[in-house]
């Protein structure tokens, strides 16, 4: 029998459960209360641990990773070795920092349902989290073989006491009063199919502008590199909406807005490029022969130094009055779309307008892909990548307007192709980046120019080979994506809506 994972918005008292059990039964509920202790709770900014039903705690200098889904809600667990915890955390969120969520108090309790001979017939255990005046209790039951009825009775009893089956822990921090909102990089927006295209575009842009801005203080604190990444992804999406929803705003307005956002993003390019390089450090070292490692060390020390400078520059920008004023202004404008000059398509109904855009972009993807064979120039492959990305963004933005399962299915198919194209592009960008260092920065490697050039040469050669490998996969992956089934799905989902 399956364990029952439950949440209670208060503690559980054995006496109350016993009363609910009634007088007719000879069974007894026993709750062995643990000792309340203080702990600091950690999670990534986007609550990855919580989404994975895990809690990272530090108490009395010990770190503890509780796995709620695995039913591990035990007191007195040994301090897990740091290496083990780090390994688990890396699997959940490799690039994210684990930040303090709050100081809480906790208690582990164990409960038993005993029969008249004091034999345990069912078990439950839970952990109570206390924050200020709030208490949330997470528990799980344990079936004991041969005692089905007692198990069912226990679940009914807990439900009577207010236990609710846990479907997800998204609201946990909010319920505990420890955090107001949940950060989502890809929120499901409340779009209305019959709303006009201009307002829908503004709603999407507004949402992504807000997400970008949430990340600013964390980029400045330099907690992890994902904050800048999320910031840029959000702004890229804003620019994409401006470009993709053609005719929704006036030409001049669109051009000016794209320029403004483009300028802001451009000022973070260098930092992101360097982040990517430094994150790949270990992989790069593995790619080149040992003899190139000395040169790689010097190169990476240099890149780290450049990264510190780039971060200082981005921090200065975020902190500047001009930037803050500009961003506030943009946020304000998109929250009141009437302040933006309308274009000829502004009044189109969102769903029909969206369908036409998706179909058009899909046709473009197919057209480019049809021209690609093994000898096609890389430039065309890049065009395919950009086109696919735009198609993906469009579909993601407009998901709420169409049947969710079908949209998710199509996006998933597209994603596989995009991963391939994305890697192809990354390897190309990385080679260019290295080439630029040889061209512009060699004088900084005083007396080590040769070692660094050799390292860059070795790395470039490997990156080129990896890029070729990805290139060789493109046609195969496109064929996989563009099956008859995919075509039929695109037509069925969007054709009937076109012009609706």
């Amino acid at each position: 029998m399956e364990p029952f994972f439950y949440m209670l918005k208060s503690g559980v008292k054995a006496g109350d459960l016993q009363k609910m059990l009634g007088k007719k039964t000879s069974c007894k509920v026993v709750v062995e209360k643990g000792k309340k202790f203080e702990a600091t709770l950690y999670d990534s900014f986007d609550d990855r641990l919580l989404k994975n039903y895990k809690f990272l705690l530090e108490t009395e200098g010990k770190k503890l990773l509780l796995d709620y889904a695995g039913g591990a809600l035990e007191d007195g667990q040994e301090d897990s070795p740091d290496g083990e915890i780090v390994g688990e955390l890396e699997q959940i969120a490799k690039l994210r920092a684990f930040l303090k969520v709050g100081d809480i108090r906790m208690r582990f309790d164990r409960g038993l349902l005993l029969d008249d001979e004091q034999k345990t017939r069912a078990r439950f255990r839970h952990v109570s989290f206390y924050y200020k005046d709030e208490c949330v209790c997470l528990g799980v039951t344990q079936y004991m073989r041969g005692y089905q009825k007692a198990y069912r009775d226990l679940i009914a009893l807990l439900k009577n006491a207010g236990a609710v089956e846990v479907q997800g822990l998204d609201s946990f921090y909010r319920d505990l009063g420890i955090k107001d909102s949940v950060y989502e990089l890809k929120p499901v927006l409340p779009l209305n199919p019959s709303e006009n295209a201009k307002n829908t575009a503004a709603l999407i842009i507004s949402a992504f502008l807000d997400i970008a801005r949430v990340n600013e203080p964390w980029v400045m604190k330099d907690c992890d590199t994902e904050f800048l990444h999320d910031y840029r992804v959000s702004l890229r999406k804003v620019r994409s909406v401006l470009g993709l929803f053609k005719g929704v705003y006036s030409k001049e307005e669109t051009r000016e807005l794209k320029r403004e956002f483009g300028e802001i993003m451009r000022r973070t390019n260098r930092l992101r490029d360097l982040d990517v390089y430094l994150l790949e450090r270990d992989n790069y070292f593995n790619l080149v022969p040992d003899t190139a490692h000395r040169g790689m060390d010097i190169l990476f020390d240099y890149l780290q130094q450049k990264r510190d400078e780039a971060l200082a520059e981005v921090t200065r920008m975020f902190a500047s009055k001009t930037y803050r004023k500009k961003m506030n202004q943009l946020q304000k404008r998109f929250s009141r779309p009437d302040t933006i000059q309308a274009g000829p398509e502004a009044g189109e109904c969102s769903r029909g307008f969206g369908s036409a855009l998706i179909l058009k972009r899909y046709a473009q993807v197919c057209r480019i892909a049809a021209t690609i064979d093994d000898s096609t120039e890389d430039e065309i492959v890049h065009q395919l990548r950009i086109s696919c990305k735009k198609l993906r963004y469009l579909m993601e933005f407009l998901t709420p307007l169409f049947p969710s399962a079908e949209m998710k299915g199509l996006i998933k198919r597209l994603k596989k192709l995009q991963d391939n194209l994305g890697k192809f592009n990354d390897f190309s960008v990385q080679q260019n980046f290295l080439r630029q260092i040889v061209l512009d920065d060699l004088q900084h490697f005083n007396r080590h120019e040769l070692e660094v050039t050799e390292a860059i040469g070795a790395l470039t050669a490997m990156l080129f080979r990896l890029q070729q490998k990805e290139r060789a996969q493109v046609m195969k992956n496109f064929a996989k994506f563009n099956s008859e089934e995919t075509k039929a799905m695109f037509t069925a989902l969007f054709q009937k809506e076109e012009g609706a």
């Binding site: 001979e117 034999k119 004991m144 073989r145 041969g146 005692y147």
Partner: protein, 248 residues
């Protein structure tokens, strides 16, 4: 799955205490363990506070695997489950004697019901009967508690003779000394004599201990309330020796 029986053709030698504590030690070592009480008195179940399985008749035990599986009860300890006995089990012999292949019926039933488990421990009733013959055939090893007295020595001899006469594998028998009182001269002399005679005798001995007698009061394996006592130590050592012999 290995089947270890705890058997003696003499009563009152500590069979049930041995079954219960060995099952606990086995479960503690991480093996999924099923203790099957074949003694209609149901003492093993009593020690684990598990009520007799009223519904499980002799017919169901040997003929209805699903019923037998349904009779399995979790103990209060990890990895340790039980099939409790009931008074109906006293008719096992009559029932078995009426069945075809009556010496391999137990194996068939246990293999079908116990395949979730690493080790099955059988607590057997004290007689030589059709059921015991099933045990002799089914078990991989048969642990035999022997009190180092004249009468017990005689019973052990009878058991070896029976094995020989009926061509059962003698190497399955793993006798050990139970309820040993080292202060008694007779115990020491008997132990020396029997060790010479039976090379298969396990080295660890279980002492006569009030801790073991108190199992009836605590209704738990001796490990849980006298974990550091001599009795618990002895059962741990005994289990380690059995594990080695049974290649567990």
């Amino acid at each position: 799955m290995k089947i270890i029986a705890c058997y003696s053709n003499k009563g009152g030698v500590g069979k049930t205490a041995t079954s219960v504590n060995l099952a606990y030690a086995c479960a503690l070592s991480g093996k999924k363990t099923l203790l099957c009480d074949l003694d209609p008195q149901g003492a093993s179940g009593f020690y684990f506070r598990v009520k007799p399985s009223a519904k499980l008749s002799d017919k169901a035990f040997f003929k209805n695997v699903q019923e037998l599986i349904r009779a399995i009860r979790a103990s209060d300890f990890d990895n340790l489950d039980l099939i409790p006995a009931n008074l109906g089990f006293r008719d096992f012999d009559i029932f078995l004697s009426r069945m075809k292949n009556s010496r391999s019926r137990l194996k068939k039933a246990l293999v079908a019901a116990g395949n979730d488990y690493d080790v099955l421990i059988l607590d057997c009733p004290p007689n030589i009967s059709r059921l015991s013959e099933n045990v002799f055939k089914t078990a991989d090893k048969i642990v035999v508690p022997v009190i180092p007295t004249t009468l017990s020595s005689r019973t052990l001899e009878q058991l070896y003779d029976f094995f020989k006469e009926n061509a059962y594998q003698k190497k399955k028998l793993l006798p050990f000394f139970s309820m040993v009182q080292k202060s008694k001269k007779l115990h020491n002399e008997t132990m020396t004599a029997l060790r010479k005679k039976y090379k298969n005798l396990l080295l660890p001995c279980v002492p006569f201990s009030t801790d073991i007698e108190r199992m009836g009061v605590h209704r738990e394996p001796v490990f849980t309330y006298a974990g550091k006592g001599a009795a618990s130590r002895a059962y741990s050592e005994l289990w380690a020796a059995i594990e080695k012999r049974a290649k567990l």
